[in-house]
């Protein structure tokens, strides 16, 4: 027990240390000498078109960025363009394809504007009086860092669960190795999350989806905690990813909803008829709000966790003092351990609530 605890501590320290490393590299990228915490945090949390590894200023005072570029896929003005993100040279150059000229500005791709500034960016004021980019955007289906992150999760899950499934074919009776490690988790999802809310018989149909979503979120959360290998992408802390997952739950809930479910929406039992004009819109809104809460909960929890850990590390660079590390590293370690719990808890909550919504949609009259 003691040994394993020690191992965890070492592992967590390594994670923290590499987080600090990342933060320090990012800190140097800011052009001005002032350390902009917001910039660093947003850069880490947002999606990008390349897998940023490190950057530095070499002897000739050139800014060198080491990163893995990903393919960019754009559909705009009836044109279908594919090129590597390295062609942008991290936003220094525009990319011309046929009639379209694209620019990369703050990790977003726009059409170059004729009457813009030297970067080809044109600004406009929004209704609050803030300056926002006015350039038009092409339809963007690029393979971004988060797409790669999702892809990594998919690959790892396939590797793990196909091998576990093979294990079950080989030794159905006595699980061993990875299979023995995964079986309690699978059984936890089955017996402690899904079956109590959907019921033994009906859960069979929904168990594969709920298991997949549970492990997808769990792996996404855990990979998000790893700074370099497998991780670095803030997959489950991205609103698009959580939107997709919540959308699946919503679709499954409503497509498997039985007569009872729709009766509850359009003719709530025990409510007088004159209340229907209020109740029906509320219930219809509920169809949207439930998955919306799922989407926002996962996104906000994971993003908040990343922001807290990175903020704690950034404290060192704000104060420009290594002494601060003695405070921020233990706090960051604590937060990272807490995030391990949150990673599991959020996967649990998402799966549990999805199961609950589905369970409410398929339950019989009682």
């Amino acid at each position: 027990m003691k040994v394993s605890l020690f191992k965890y501590l070492i592992l967590s320290l390594l994670i923290i240390a590499s987080n600090a490393l990342l933060a320090s590299e990012e800190a140097d990228t800011t052009k001005s000498n002032d350390f902009d915490v917001n910039e660093v945090l947003m850069h880490h949390i947002k999606d990008t078109y390349e897998w940023h590894i490190l950057d530095y200023v070499n002897k000739n005072d050139e800014h060198v960025v080491v990163s893995i570029p990903f393919p960019i896929i754009l559909i705009g003005n009836g044109q279908f363009d594919i090129f590597m993100s390295s062609e942008f040279h991290h936003g220094d150059k525009t990319v011309k394809r046929g009639n379209n000229e694209y620019i990369l500005y703050h990790e977003k791709i726009y059409y170059k504007s004729e009457n813009g500034n030297e970067h080809g960016i044109e600004y406009k004021l929004n209704d609050k009086g803030e300056k926002i980019v006015a350039n038009a955007k092409p339809l963007d289906f690029s393979i971004t860092k988060n797409v790669v992150g999702v892809f990594l999760i998919v690959i790892v899950m396939l590797l793990i669960f196909l091998s576990v499934a093979r294990g079950y074919k080989k030794r159905p009776g006595r699980p061993a190795g990875l299979q023995a490690f995964m079986e309690p988790v699978i059984l936890f999802v089955k017996n402690d999350i899904v079956v109590p809310v959907i019921g033994e018989h009906k859960s069979e149909k929904f168990l594969p989806y709920l298991l997949t979503v549970f492990f997808f979120i769990l792996f996404g959360n855990l990979f998000g905690l790893m700074p370099i290998f497998l991780g670095g992408a803030n997959v489950t802390g991205n609103i698009s990813v959580t939107f997709t997952l919540a959308l699946f739950t919503m679709l499954i809930t409503n497509f498997s909803g039985n007569k009872e479910y729709w009766k509850h929406i359009f003719a709530v039992p025990g409510v007088p008829i004159w209340l229907y004009p209020i109740m029906i819109p509320v219930e219809l809104l509920g169809i949207i709000i439930k998955p919306f809460a799922l989407m926002v909960r996962l996104f906000a929890n994971i993003t908040a966790g990343h922001i807290i850990v990175l903020s704690l590390i950034s404290v060192i660079f704000i104060f420009k003092s290594a002494v601060m590390a003695s405070v921020s590293i233990p706090l960051g370690l604590f937060m990272n351990i807490l995030e391990l719990l949150v990673a599991f808890l959020q996967a649990y909550v998402f799966t549990m609530l999805s199961a609950l919504f589905i369970g409410l949609a398929v339950q019989e009259e009682h």
Binding site: M42, V154, F161, A165, K169, L207, P208
Partner: protein, 164 residues
Amino acid sequence: MDLVTPNVGLIFWTGILFVLLLLILWKFAWKPILGTINKRNQSIEDALNAADKARQDMQKLQADNKKIIAEAATERDRMLKEAREFGDDIIKKAKEDAKLEIIKLKENAQMEISAQKAGAINEIKNQVAVLSVDIAEKILRRSLSTEEKHDDLVNDMLKDIKLN
């Protein structure tokens, strides 16, 4: 604002990858895994049921055994009792036989005794007669030396015989 605006491309790719993952895992992972676990649960349940049944059978068997033992015990008791009764009967009968035999023997003995007694009395009588005759002879020889004495004697003798 940027942070909470979903991106169509990422939704597209996530959706496609997730559906692919779901379908592949559904067919090649969850089905065999859950199937095997269910089958194993079933087999465990079957085994438990079988064990329960075996235990019940065992209990029944034990109860049967007890019943058989009890029956055997009663049978033994009965047999013992019978044997004892039989033995008692034999003893009783033997005693009775012995009693009868004794009575018979006694009777025989008494008969013998009476016969012997009679024989002995006869013998004694004969002896007494012989002795008497002898004595009488001797006395006669002596006393019949005279006539008178002779007569007296005859008379006495006659008197005696009458009395007898």
